[in-house]
């Protein structure tokens, strides 16, 4: 059975999100990008419209749509601005879906439900000043103290750092564990807990209309009820969260490529040189054809991952490929789009320079392109196999999701 059609529901949901982005975000995005602040209406509106809970079961406060719809929504959001999709990557992919996969029932009520309703915003705290790709090298600690844990450490480059209410925090409960990653544990840190401080980073190359910052925990007392999964399961949890976050990054980058393609097609027809629209020149046509190719391939790759998730099939390799391909090519697409626009592409009067700056970060976060290449090679050499997890991401079950 091979079926490439999207349901009416999926298409309409994407259309609604497109309309929201075009009407409410696009008109002012350049201003917020220049000011390096987030449109204050963005998160509340995404919450109100249900976007922040799109693929979470209705019983947990979500909208009950499937994983494919999440991808389509991310594509539409990043076609408008990468910062909107980043919200979905951390709030939904890296945090909420992690709770859906690994959280206990009480945690789903206490964390997932308000997150899906958009009453609480969620972030993902893995990276530290001294550890990014090398997750097991993180320094943050969680020391058991009676029924609680005391968390200390600093997280860096955290999207929504200053907006989030809940941060999925990875710390070492056993700093001497061998291998080191076996000593990691995940916690839901609530940012109103005593000892939590946050701040934004300014002067970023891209995603300037978003929030990226740091979160610091100093002797923060976290009840054991906030521990997600068991002690020592933190690394597995982080990796499964990334399987979901990467899906949103891949689908979002596909939207960025589409934005580049659309802008270039429009401009190529308008701009004339030597008495003809530049669209008439084969070297320009080639750039358009590339962008179309990159868009098509990226989209097929992410939709395949959406389908695997719907079926409940592990997709670590496929999602890594989709993320790597889609982000590398969205950046290339932005580069070509600027070229199509000539000097105007170099100015923030047009959108394409923002696409380039925004597309750059995705080649670094959620696994740098180098890390994805290492992963692909390791699978190809048979050095890497996905072992079953204690908790798998649940397959999409319409009756359960909508019941």
């Amino acid at each position: 059975m091979l079926d490439f059609s999207l349901t009416e529901e999926q298409q309409q949901a994407a259309a609604m999100v497109r309309e929201f982005g075009e009407k409410e975000i696009l008109p002012t995005i350049k201003e917020y990008d220049r000011q390096q602040t987030m449109n204050p209406a963005a998160l509340p509106r995404m919450a109100e419209l249900g976007i922040l809970g799109i693929n979470i079961p209705v019983r947990y406060g979500g909208q009950g749509f499937d994983y494919v719809t999440l991808g389509l929504v991310c594509e539409e959001l990043e076609r408008i601005d990468t910062t909107l999709r980043v919200v979905m990557s951390v709030h939904m992919g890296l945090n909420s879906m992690g709770v859906l996969q690994w959280g206990g029932e009480e945690q789903k009520q206490r964390f997932l439900t308000p997150q899906a309703r958009g009453e609480k915003y969620a972030a993902f705290g893995l990276t530290e000043p001294g550890a990014g790709s090398d997750v097991a090298g993180l320094r943050s600690t969680a020391r058991k103290d009676g029924g609680d844990y005391i968390i200390n450490g600093e997280k860096m480059w955290i999207s929504l750092a200053t907006k989030a209410h809940h941060v999925l925090w990875f710390a070492k409960t056993d700093p001497n564990a061998k291998p080191a990653h076996a000593g990691l544990t995940a916690f839901m840190v609530e940012t109103d807990m005593r000892g939590v401080t946050t701040g934004d980073i300014h002067g970023k190359l891209g995603v300037r209309a978003g929030s990226t910052g740091w979160v610091n925990c100093q002797d923060v007392r976290v009840p054991a009820a906030n521990r997600i999964g068991e002690e020592g399961e933190g690394f597995k949890i982080a990796m499964s969260c990334l399987d979901n976050g990467r899906y949103t990054v891949a689908s979002g980058a596909t939207g960025l490529t589409r934005a580049c393609l659309e802008a270039s097609v429009r401009y190529a027809k308008e701009r004339e040189t030597f008495g003809r629209p530049i669209a008439d020149y084969q070297l320009i046509q080639q750039k358009i054809a590339w962008m179309q190719q990159w868009y098509d391939v990226s989209r097929l790759l992410y939709l395949q991952v959406g389908w695997l998730k719907n079926q409940g099939i592990r997709n670590t390799r496929e999602v890594s490929m989709a993320k790597w391909y889609a982000t590398d090519h969205s950046f290339k697409a932005a580069h070509e789009a600027i070229q199509v626009h000539g000097a105007y592409g170099f100015s923030d009067e047009y959108d394409v320079e923002r696409y380039l700056r925004n597309g750059r970060g995705a080649i670094i976060y959620e696994g740098t392109s180098e890390i994805h290449q290492l992963m692909q090679a390791a699978y190809a050499f048979g050095e890497r196999q996905d072992k079953p997890l204690r908790c798998e991401l649940p397959a999409y079950d319409e009756a359960f999701w909508q019941g």
Partner: protein, 262 residues
């Protein structure tokens, strides 16, 4: 109290109208956008839903006369929050004029029963006559309230609305039932909700044909005997030169008199 919202499906706002040499008309969207709910009707649909939310209407029923494809417009209305939708479709309705359209819509509104308010948009972006609402009111024998920019009160068998006119606003009260046509100042239409989208995509929309409405012949008084494209407008630009602003202005005024513009 039931509310009916009459809506039709139109080409997208970015579609281009082409009159073909044989006089047939086609609308093509350069970006391939699909047909949409007539954009002016987003306001009337929103207002219908608000009558349910704020003024105790029991049902908000969206009605379209059109082809099978225009179901899509009704689905949008359902996804926004209308409680029901009905498609009026019959070979006999194809290509009728606004009066014929009004007859069909009036018959459907009567068949629904207990309708107190029928809402329309200002006009349809394709046909753009702006006649259908008033003609439907005439067929029903109800009071037409056009260019409505606010519904301020509904109750005790009457309705009070604000009408936005060229010279200002007018507040009028009329006994129910009424036919209303809305302007865009009346509200800010909502998007379809995700839950609404799901409900709409699963809905089976009933289709009423001429027989269901006991209409024998709809008949058109107006027919489109010839359709032709407007000749393209010719224009040119002339820059008025002069040493000072005063001199330029004086030359411009002289020129405007000469050309009998003023």
């Amino acid at each position: 109290m039931k509310v009916v919202v009459c809506t039709k499906q139109t080409p997208s706002t970015t579609a281009d109208l082409t009159v073909n040499p044989d006089g047939s008309v086609s609308w093509e969207d350069p970006g391939g956008k699909p047909n949409v709910v007539n954009p002016w009707d987003e306001y009337s649909i929103e207002e219908g839903i608000r009558l349910k939310e704020n003024h105790g209407a029991s049902d908000v029923i969206a009605i379209t006369m059109g082809s099978e494809e225009s179901q899509e417009a009704l689905k949008t209305a359902l996804a926004m929050g209308c409680t029901e939708a009905i498609l009026l479709s019959d070979a006999a309705f194809a290509g009728v004029d606004t009066l014929g359209t009004a007859k069909v819509l009036a018959a459907a509104i009567n068949k629904v029963e207990d309708v107190q308010i029928a809402i329309f948009g200002k006009s349809a972006i394709d046909g753009d006559t702006g006649q259908t609402a008033v003609q439907t009111a005439c067929q029903l024998g109800w009071t037409p309230l056009t260019f409505v920019s606010a519904i301020t009160a509904v109750g005790d068998g009457q309705i009070t609305v604000e009408r936005l006119l060229d010279d200002g606003k007018e507040t009028v009260t009329a006994p129910l039932p009424v036919v209303i046509s809305t302007v865009k100042e009346i509200n800010e239409p909502r998007y379809p909700s995700f839950m609404g989208i799901r409900k709409a995509s699963r809905a089976t929309i009933p289709v009423w044909a001429a027989g269901d409405l006991s209409l024998n012949s709809v008949g058109s008084k107006v027919d489109w005997s010839k359709v032709y494209a407007l000749p393209p407008r010719e224009g040119s630009v002339e820059i008025i030169e002069g040493d000072s602003v005063q001199e330029k202005a004086a030359k411009l005024v002289a020129k405007l008199f000469e050309e009998k513009v003023i």
